[in-house]
């Protein structure tokens, strides 16, 4: 029984894909990314820059109070001053650090809790999975903003409790997603093959499962971040989130909301509450554009034609 001449395994090139290194693939993808994704990347980059270097960029102090409240836009106060005479432009810059920093910390914490438990539930299955899943079902039966309001009543509105409360509530969604994508991976033959080889649970989790659930989790991180960011902004706007004198975009809108009624006389005055609100919106738009593009890429959807 000799090997057939017409056939050789290495030459079986009918379906052989083109080879590219990972970096080449990333570059190629980026070059093809639509304008909206590029816009998103640039905006996120700017925000992060401002957030990281806010003390160097801000012309005045975060809580520094000047003599004239409601000062108009001029050279000294680029965007004027607020109701008690603080420089709006400086507070906007400091607000970036606070608002983005807190939202980022909350999202990370929620992924730590939800991702860890979701992975554990998917792999071990059985009663742990059942218990966690039913518990999450109950928590998700209460709208999260309402739940957050209730918990804030009990624990008060410190930054620490704010981060913990939102993170725990948001981790329910992370849990569900992690669990469902991880379960799709755990039924794969390569996981069974690893079990048959006698691999330990930790190795299977780290080497076989985690690398394969990263793309949806990364996308979810973007979505969760913008959701957390909006929730915290909403709470601050309601006066229940980040407390004064810490500069924060949500409470800046609340504090200066009444200035909108001067729009007919001085449009710049009306902008005082609108600018921080727009700052919030712009960042979430940017994140959503990037996530949208990323999801489109990784889900393998090609409905371009």
């Amino acid at each position: 029984m000799s090997q057939s001449n017409a056939y050789s395994a290495t030459a079986e090139v009918g379906q052989l894909r083109e080879r590219r290194s990972r970096w080449e693939t990333i570059k190629l993808e980026l070059r093809k990314a639509p304008i909206s994704a590029w816009f998103g990347f640039i905006v996120i980059g700017c925000y992060l820059f401002v957030a990281l270097f806010s003390p160097l960029l801000a012309p005045h102090g975060e809580a520094e109070i000047f003599k004239t409240p409601f000062a108009p836009w001029d050279a000294k106060h680029i965007l004027g001053t607020d109701q008690i005479g603080r420089d709006v432009f400086s507070r906007l810059i400091y607000g970036a650090t606070n608002t983005i920093g807190i939202a980022l910390a909350t999202t990370l914490l929620s992924f730590l809790i939800g991702g860890g438990l979701g992975l554990a539930a998917a792999i071990t299955g059985g009663w742990l999975d059942q218990l966690l899943s039913r518990f999450v079902d109950v928590l998700m039966a209460i709208p999260s903003l309402i739940f957050a309001l209730m918990l804030l009543t009990i624990f008060g509105s410190s930054i620490f409790s704010l981060i913990c409360i939102i993170a725990v509530l948001d981790s329910t969604r992370v849990f569900r997603l992690t669990r469902s994508v991880a379960i799709n991976v755990t039924v794969m033959d390569y996981v069974e093959a690893a079990k048959l080889r006698g691999e330990k649970l930790g190795w299977i989790m780290r080497r076989e499962i985690l690398p394969n659930i990263m793309p949806p989790l990364i996308a979810e991180f973007g979505l969760r971040f913008s959701f957390v960011f909006l929730t915290i902004a909403a709470l601050s706007f309601l006066g229940l989130g980040i407390q004064p004198p810490t500069a924060d975009w949500g409470s800046m809108v609340r504090d200066n909301a009444s200035m909108i009624q001067f729009a007919k006389y001085d449009i710049t005055a009306a902008m005082t509450p609108m600018i921080p609100a727009a700052a919030i919106a712009l960042l979430t738009v940017a994140v959503n554009f990037v996530v949208d593009w990323f999801l489109h890429k990784t889900s393998g959807l090609n409905d371009e034609h």
Partner: protein
């Protein structure tokens, strides 16, 4: 008994169990309060006796399970307790019952939500379905990009943009929706235009995207391609082949967004100073008025659970596999 009835009953039972656990969580809120909260409610000057009397009134001298039973019985008979505000150190009690506080505001909120839903639901379904049918057309791209932008906006930003243009610069719609029990219907509608419009914009964006995704998913089924290969016309493919299978996903989308509407109402009510249950809840959180917060949370959660329950039931009763068992 038709097997579908069993499935529906099972689902309803599950809803009741969920509601039970949710009520447990909401009830236990008071357990986590720091021990001296009675002092805080009554003020520093409160005497030992008034504090003791207040604690007794709250039933804090009894074990938690007993109090839960009493509380849930009272809730079921329509008694949501008494507000903490209006109490003071002297022991004179000017507090109002929670039901009295909530009832008129609940109607206001429902009125506003209904106003938004009446416009938003049909509009969103129309936009979502047409965008899915004309996928990747210019129309689809425009609708898609603008809804993606809208869902990224915080509700208060949408609200203030509307106030800026519709109430200050171009038109003169009321920026403050002050209504009371005597306000006539059409005046009420007029005053609610901006808050309702805010909610409509936010909901339409969410709902349209979900509808589009659900329809696209449906149109990718092999039986839809088969219908096309059978020479069925485009409209018949949609009406006869896609629609009967679309009820479940569409019901889910609607329920999800009505639930979202209920929550989104909190911020919008605060912006427009609308006397609804959301604003009441925010005020009560600020003053740490636990009974009111509990009652509001319970109402919001129950609405949420019931809406999802209805969507699930619609999904069950329109599923041919369950409708016509083997």
């Amino acid at each position: 008994m038709h097997p579908i009835l069993g499935t529906v009953l099972q689902r309803i039972l599950l809803g009741v169990v969920t509601l039970f656990f949710v009520s447990l969580i909401i009830f236990s809120a008071i357990e986590f309060l720091p021990g001296d909260f009675t002092q805080a409610v009554l003020g520093q000057a409160a005497t030992e006796e008034t504090v003791a009397a207040f604690r007794k009134e709250l039933g804090l001298d009894q074990p938690a399970p007993v109090r839960y039973m009493e509380w849930i019985q009272a809730v079921m008979s329509g008694d949501l307790g008494t507000s903490f505000s209006g109490r003071n150190a002297s022991g004179i009690d000017r507090s109002r019952s929670v039901v009295d506080l909530i009832e008129p505001r609940l109607w206001n909120t429902l009125f506003l939500a209904a106003m938004a839903a009446i416009v938003a639901v049909p509009l969103a379904l129309f936009l979502g379905i047409t965008a899915a049918l004309y996928r990747n057309s210019v129309y689809d791209r425009v609708v898609n990009a603008s809804t993606l932008t809208t869902i990224s906006f915080p509700e208060f930003f949408v609200a203030y943009i509307l106030i800026l243009f519709m109430s200050q610069l171009w038109f003169d719609f009321p920026a403050i929706a002050s209504v009371n029990a005597e306000t006539p219907f059409w005046e009420r509608v007029y005053k609610c235009i901006l808050p309702a419009l805010t909610m409509t914009l936010v909901i339409v964006a969410h709902m349209m995207r979900m509808t589009r995704a659900a329809i696209i998913n449906l149109l990718a089924s092999p039986y839809i391609e088969m219908a096309r290969l059978k020479g069925i016309s485009k409209s018949q493919v949609i009406l006869r082949h896609a629609l009967p299978n679309a009820w479940a996903p569409i019901a889910t989308v609607i329920a999800f967004n009505l639930a979202y509407l209920v929550v989104g109402v909190v911020v919008v009510e605060v912006v427009f100073v609308y006397p609804g249950i959301g604003q009441l809840m925010v005020n009560s959180v600020t003053t740490r008025d636990i009974p009111v917060v509990q009652a509001c949370a319970l109402i919001f959660a129950a609405t949420y659970i019931i809406l999802n329950l209805i969507a699930d039931i619609i999904g069950i009763v329109t599923n041919p596999r369950l409708l016509h068992p083997r």
